[in-house]
Amino acid sequence: MKIAVCIKRVPDTEMRFAIAADGKSLDQAGLKFDISDFDGYAVEVALRLTEKDGGEVAVICLGPDGVQETIRKAFSMGAARGVQLKADAIPFDGSAIAAALAAELREGGYDLVLFGRQATDSGNGTVGPMTAHLLGLPCVTAVSHLELGAGRGTAHRELEGIAEVVEFPLPAVLTIDEGIARPRLPSLKGIMAAKKKTIDVRPAQLGEARLTVETMALPPERAAGRIVGEGPDAVPELVRLLKTEAKVL
């Protein structure tokens, strides 16, 4: 089984964020970067499938040279090949990214192409299904459970109070959700091996960007809250405040 996983390099959300002088991006000073949450899950899913049934995992990451660090992380987890689609910056428009990923994936002969449900930075969740359409492949989004058989697969999706069980033919595009697999920690052996692997670098054939970030701001601060009191005796005062001040009862 040949599996491609599209992975994105994103800022770690535990860092303190500030807006850059351009007013439309994050101040890069002091940011740490890592693989986007769900993309880490997707790499793990791919590794488990190939460990079980044989095959190879390739990761594809679009962006400036900093993304090589993210590709090496996937190497250290066990990915066999890595491709950087080189671009000066990662566009915000999912359809521009999808065009470049589809151009890379089209002739790859992959049985399965995995994405994250949505990227931790953009929160869009559009690149996976858009790429699937460009490739002409069936697509299942937000997969929280997966089983593969001969030429077919079964996936579970959680849809706000109901779960869907779907069947799909291979090759297919899947976007991976929470609940399916936590990424393994890179092993020391993996880290050593990752250093020796080479990354294929090709220019990204980005599509037209029609969706752009005009400005970015930090969210409005919440008004300072207060401790109503200690222990169960504070409960009546809390209920009074919920009723008369917050007016939520």
Partner: protein
């Protein structure tokens, strides 16, 4: 050229609350560009007529009724083909979706078929002749981007709960439309639908959420959280990842960066420390209450009201007081 098509989401033949929200958003945008609101409803025979009153109340001028066997449940491929065909038929300035689980699956497919871009999970939109400008939370809510989308039709999906459904009543005329593709030809086939929980309020729709964390110590203690939710009457139960990882609650209850993003009127956090990944999923709640025995727990920085102390003493008392307040 100034009309707006809304995909009005249904479940079991009923409009979901997000449908009313998105029609409301579309009405405001259509008024700005001088167009009509067309609400597209999928279902079996009669689905369009059944939805017409409610959709008209929120400002739909036309209900586009796509009625056929097999369309009573979501089918991504055929529905995307139909919505794209309608949007491509001319006259549409924009297409609006809910950024619900279903809308998040459908909207990017429609965008790709049409070769246009999509502003996903937006909370506010301003539409003009040359651009759609939208607000969208990025970095799991740690920043807010103002996006500019060019091209026609401009597609946007709205975060559930970000728009309040409002009245703009008119009588909507029902226009039938034949589906552009047959669901039985779809490559991805839905084999089974399994109801989760006991079909209580979904986290995305509940006005009140009572969420529990590791402070509850064991699965059976979630009874305290459930009792409190029951006292509110209109509450759903949520959890942290620590809790769903330990199997105390189903994974679908997880709120946060890698779980559900929720937006209730009242969020009660019980025995939750307030890790950044949890806050990412609930920070936009209108009023936040925290109960934690550690006065330095980060959740108190976000909470409007906090009580410091042992949840095992505080929660039963709160349940009692809420029951009284609710007149029960």
């Amino acid at each position: 050229m100034a009309n707006i098509l809304v995909v009005a989401e249904t479940r079991n033949g009923e409009l979901r609350s997000v449908a009313h929200e998105v029609v409301t958003a579309a009405r405001q945008a259509a008024d700005a560009v001088g167009g009509e609101v067309h609400a597209l409803v999928f279902g079996t025979a009669g689905a369009g007529a059944a939805a017409a009153d409610a959709l008209g109340r929120h400002g739909a001028d036309v209900v586009v009724a796509v009625e056929s066997a097999g369309l009573e449940k979501y089918d991504a491929e055929s529905m995307a083909a139909t919505v794209a065909a309608r949007l491509g038929s001319g006259g549409y300035r924009a297409g609006f979706f809910a950024a619900s689980a279903q809308g998040r699956d459908l909207a990017p497919r429609v965008a790709a078929i049409l070769g246009v871009s999509l502003a996903s999970d937006v909370t506010e939109v301003t539409l003009s002749a040359d651009a759609l400008v939208a607000k969208h939370p990025v970095y799991v809510g740690k920043a807010i981007a103002t996006l500019r989308l060019t091209g026609t039709p401009a597609l946007a999906s709205f975060r559930p709960g970000s728009v309040s459904a409002a009245d703009a009543p008119r009588s909507a005329r029902v226009e039938p439309m034949a589906p552009a593709a047959d669901p039985s030809a779809s490559r991805v086939v839905v084999k089974e639908l399994v109801a989760r929980g006991d079909a209580k309020l979904d986290l995305g729709e509940a006005p009140v959420i009572v969420a529990g964390g590791r402070g509850l110590r064991a699965a059976e203690n979630f009874r305290l959280v459930e009792d409190l939710a029951a006292a509110f009457g209109n509450a759903a139960v949520g959890a942290t990842r620590a809790v769903t990882d330990d199997g105390w609650r189903p994974a679908t209850d997880q709120i946060g960066q890698t779980g559900r993003m929720v937006n209730p009127t009242l969020y009660v956090a019980v025995g939750i420390s307030g890790a950044i990944q949890h806050l990412a999923g609930m920070r936009t709640s209108r009023t936040i209450v925290a109960i934690n025995r550690d006065k330095d727990a980060p959740i108190f920085k976000l909470a409007d009201y906090g009580i410091v102390g042992d949840l095992f003493e505080i929660v039963p008392r709160l349940t009692e007081e809420i029951r009284k307040a609710k007149g029960g």
